[in-house]
Symmetry: C2
C-alpha cells in the first residue's frame, strides 16, 4: 500500500500531474527533460525534482538516448495503480448498485 500512497501522492501535485499527462500523450518514446521543460515552462531544478518523485513512485521510467534523458510512462506500474483503484473500489461500487452474495475482489487483507 505504501507504493500506492507514493503514487497517488506523486499525482497529487499540479505540475506533476501535468507532466504525467503530457507523457501519457507522448506515448512509449516519452519526452526528454528539455522538451518537458519548454512545454510546461517549469524551471530545470524544480522539474528535475518532480521527475525524480514520479520516477521513484514507479509511474515513470527514465532512459538515456544520446545526450538526452527520456522520461516515459511506466505502463505496467500505471496499470497496477488503475487496477488497485478499480478492483478495490469499482467491485464494491457495482455491488452497491446490484448487491451480490458471493465473494468480491476486495479481499486483499491490509487494515482491519
Amino acid at each position: 500500500m505504501k507504493t500506492r500512497v507514493r503514487q497517488f501522492g506523486a499525482l497529487g501535485q499540479e505540475d506533476r500531474l501535468r507532466i504525467f499527462r503530457l507523457l501519457v500523450r507522448a506515448g512509449p518514446e516519452g519526452k526528454c527533460v528539455d522538451e518537458i521543460k519548454r512545454r510546461l515552462k517549469i524551471p530545470g531544478s524544480t522539474l528535475s525534482h518532480h521527475l525524480d518523485t514520479l520516477e521513484r513512485s514507479g509511474l515513470l521510467a527514465a532512459r538515456r538516448s544520446g545526450r538526452f534523458i527520456y522520461y516515459a510512462i511506466d505502463w505496467p506500474e500505471t496499470a497496477n495503480l488503475i487496477r488497485f483503484l478499480t478492483e478495490d473500489c469499482c467491485a464494491e461500487m457495482h455491488k452497491s448498485i446490484r448487491p451480490r452474495t458471493g465473494a468480491t475482489a476486495a479481499q486483499n487483507a491490509e487494515d482491519s
Copy 2:
C-alpha cells in the same frame, strides 16, 4: 484538473488511504467517525482533519444520523476519478500496444 490533484493528494497519505479503503468495504451506509477511529486507531482531531480533506476533495460524503456522522464513499465522484485515469491513460496504453491511426480519447485539451 485541480479537483483531480486534490483527489490524488487526498489518497496520497497513508491514513487517508486506509480510511478510503475501509469505507469502500463499508458500502453505501459508510461508517461513523467513532467506528473509523476505533478501527484504524487514529486520534479524533487528526481523523477529523483527514475526513475533512477527503470530503473537500469530493471522494467522501458525510451524512448525519442520530448523533453520529457517517462518512461514505462518493461513488459518482470516485468513478470520475477512475475514468480520468483510465480514459487519459489506458486509451494511450492500449494504443501503444496495438497502434491505431484514428482519434483517441485523450483529446481533452488542458496543457500544451
